[in-house]
């Protein structure tokens, strides 16, 4: 099972107000988890730079889902520029505000400035770096707590744009969770 969608009751919020403007069948309020290497995950870039490892969310705490592996790559940006990237597509575009989290595995996640980009509303995007080093088999907040209307997809590449402490930093690509 590569997607877990939990439908929660809509509280009296803007989310509920927005629903009135769209067909009810199009709206999903709840949680969507997109697995690394799952149906909603697309990896790009030279295959020799991609690595796969057992563990991560589905290989540990999220034993209910699959695959039980995650991907990672080295950050070679300082020397070679961006090489590898991946996109997690939100399965059901939520006509509400959503917040995103990344699961950071215990291994292969040492990148201090992993740049994630949220594409939302079909029009705009928002990019912000996450320090993967302080996290260990846990959910980390993306985009500084910002919420996005109609979250569409999240993109992550091996290209650092900020601090580059080491060309041997590793960037992990594991589960992304969208909460509405």
């Amino acid at each position: 099972m590569k997607l877990k969608s939990l439908r929660l009751a809509a509280a009296m919020s803007l989310s509920a107000l927005l629903l009135s403007a769209v067909p009810a069948s199009a709206a999903v309020i709840g949680v969507q988890v997109m697995a690394s290497d799952g149906s909603y995950f697309t990896a790009s870039g030279p295959s020799q730079y991609w690595h796969s490892a057992a563990g991560g969310y589905c290989g540990g705490p999220g034993l209910w889902c699959s695959p039980n592996t995650y991907r990672w790559t080295y950050d070679y940006n300082a020397t070679y520029g961006q090489q590898n990237s991946a996109v997690w597509k939100v399965p059901t575009e939520q006509l509400v505000f959503s917040r995103a989290y990344a699961f950071i595995p215990r291994r292969n996640a040492t990148c201090r400035t992993a740049f994630y980009t949220m594409s939302y509303s079909g029009v705009s995007g928002y990019e912000q770096a996450l320090d993967q080093l302080p996290y260990y088999d846990q959910w980390a907040p993306l985009f500084g707590g910002k919420s996005f209307y109609r979250a569409r997809q999240i993109w992550l590449s091996d290209g650092q744009q900020g601090f580059n402490l080491s060309t041997l930093e590793q960037i992990a690509f594991d589960e992304i969770k969208i909460e509405s």
């Binding site: 215990r106 040492t110 079909g122 705009s124 959910w139 209307y149 997809q153 402490l165």
Partner: protein, 254 residues
């Protein structure tokens, strides 16, 4: 007769209190209704702006619109998104006065009475699948805190994405012995979670590090049957090799 008068006076007083209570209640409902109206209006404007942008061919790819003429549309959508999201949050958030204990607990955890803490948003707790919420706060050192609004306990601490925390490596001269880091981690955990000491023997301990830069001290609770989409509860401290706090998580305390 005197008794009847007392009853009448008491009744009148009760009536007056009830009326004033209703008045206070009505006053508190009015701002909420205004917030809902404002949120609905912002949502409509956002929806309309998105439709107009899409009609102009300003659909994005990986967050970057191809047509440079769409920059204005993207900016308008971005601004409206933030305004509408804030209005949405005002509907979910606790009144500021009720967040005082949360802020106090953050300052207590950091051991700094004067720490500036700002509320950011209320959202779903990613560790729970029962609709439980977290409040997000940021301090003046770009640390992000998650607080459970149900009991004001600290759920997680870590660097705030986009915050001004320049990452640096800990050199050999600044490294603390692991035994010292372990003691520091235990002190933090026991201060944050008073029941940890009593539960510790039933938890599964784990120590690890990432490149000898961050050391993690973790205790998992595998005793309870797992819910399908929730992680086993755990408590964890991540410390940089020089003893600075890297991260903290406590999902034991539900």
């Amino acid at each position: 007769m005197r008794y009847q008068k007392a009853l009448i006076a008491g009744g009148a007083a009760m009536f007056a209190i009830a009326i004033s209570g209703l008045a206070v209640g009505a006053k508190s409902i009015q701002p909420m209704a205004a917030t809902k109206t404002r949120a609905a209006q912002l949502a409509e404007r956002l929806d309309q702006t998105v439709k107009e942008a899409l009609a102009k061919g300003c659909a994005d790819q990986n967050g970057a619109a191809q047509n440079p003429q769409c920059a204005d549309s993207r900016e308008r959508v971005s601004r409206l998104n933030d305004e509408a999201a804030q209005a949405d949050d005002e509907l979910k958030a606790r009144p500021p006065a009720l967040r005082a204990t949360a802020e106090k607990n953050i300052r207590k955890f950091r051991g700094r009475d004067g720490l500036a803490v700002n509320y950011l948003a209320t959202s779903s707790n990613p560790y729970r699948d029962d609709g439980a919420r977290i409040e997000t706060y940021v301090d003046d050192e770009a640390n992000e805190y998650w607080i459970d609004p149900g009991d004001d306990h600290l759920v997680q601490v870590g660097p705030h994405a986009g915050g001004d925390q320049a990452p640096h490596k800990v050199g050999p001269e600044n490294r603390l012995p692991v035994s010292e880091l372990r003691q520091q981690a235990l002190r933090l955990i026991e201060a944050a979670d008073p029941v940890f000491a009593a539960r510790r023997s039933s938890l599964h301990p784990l120590e690890d590090n990432k490149g000898k830069q961050v050391y993690f001290f973790r205790w998992d609770d595998f005793s309870a049957p797992l819910k399908e989409s929730e992680m086993p509860p755990f408590i964890q401290v991540g410390l940089y090799a020089d003893g600075r706090l890297a991260s903290f998580t406590d999902t034991l305390n539900k």
